[in-house]
């Protein structure tokens, strides 16, 4: 169980940053106790695994993936905004299926969530190896079909 110490450290760091109490030993002891209790509850629920504390990914989701995703989100936001405020509303609603190539369930969930997070595309249903996506325009759908997102998530998963 290497995930429980990791989750414990994360909980402690979160408690310290939230409360901002760095100099009151009594309050800090209470914080440590509450972190230990949360860890115990999480262990009892058996949710401390590679999904609950995804340590194997390291900081790569934040350093490699998030900046690219943020840029994508800004671009598609501008696209959707243009559709919404244009008087004619040029909608090209369509449904496409996207096949994720990620090996783990976590990777597939990340892909589905990233698709939903970019405005203009919503992942409606996930069945077996396919994600059904509802898109507002063909341009938005094309981005998902092209698989750039899928490729980046696979890359993030594989690196040691």
């Amino acid at each position: 169980m290497k995930y429980s110490p990791i989750l414990g450290v994360l909980l402690l760091a979160a408690w310290l940053l939230w409360s901002g109490h760095f100099d009151k030993p009594f309050v800090m002891a209470l914080g440590v106790l509450s972190c230990a209790f949360s860890l115990y509850v999480a262990l009892r629920m058996e949710i401390v695994d590679e999904e609950g504390a995804p340590w194997q990914l390291g900081a790569r989701p934040f350093t490699h993936y998030a900046p690219w995703l943020a840029r994508e989100i800004v671009q598609s936001n501008i696209e959707v905004t243009r559709i919404i405020i244009s008087p004619a509303m040029p909608l090209q609603r369509n449904m496409v299926t996207v096949t994720p190539h990620a090996e783990t369930e976590l990777g597939r969930v990340m892909l589905a969530n990233s698709i939903t997070l970019t405005p203009g595309t919503v992942s409606v249903r996930m069945e077996g190896d396919e994600i059904l996506v509802h898109a507002l325009s063909f341009e938005g759908a094309a981005e998902d079909i092209s698989g750039e997102m899928d490729r980046r998530i696979c890359q993030m998963e594989k690196q040691p």
Partner: protein, 115 residues
């Protein structure tokens, strides 16, 4: 007030007003778009760029402090939870028997590579 403070203030207010603009556009989208599945996309604009820009503007206001850490955490949880709720809505609608209205057939992946 020195020059740096004025510049930071301007940056922060540009971000805040931008975020407000995209939040309002998301609201307009929810009203204007024709049916359920399209309306979901309108909410997406408010969730991502609207909330993100407002958070960024507040971070510039707060400067380097614990408040910024908390704002970053709020942004992180928004980014994780809003697609989950959006997906739950869409899936519930689909399983409830609501058929999405489509304008055209989906483009196949081959058509896209040529265009």
């Amino acid at each position: 007030m020195n020059v740096l403070e004025i510049v930071l203030e301007i940056i922060s207010w540009v971000l805040l007003l931008g975020g407000s603009f995209f939040s309002i556009v998301g609201g307009i989208g929810i009203v204007r778009l024709p049916e359920f599945f399209s309306r979901l996309h309108g909410g997406g604009v408010t969730d991502t760029l609207g909330a993100g820009l407002i958070m960024a503007g507040l971070m510039v206001q707060a400067g380097l402090s614990l408040v910024t850490v908390k704002l970053l955490t709020i942004l992180f949880f928004l980014v994780v939870t809003s697609p989950s709720s959006c997906h739950a809505l869409a899936k519930a609608a689909l399983f409830g028997g609501l058929k999405p209205e489509l304008d055209k057939n989906p483009p196949s992946s081959r058509d896209k590579s040529s265009s």
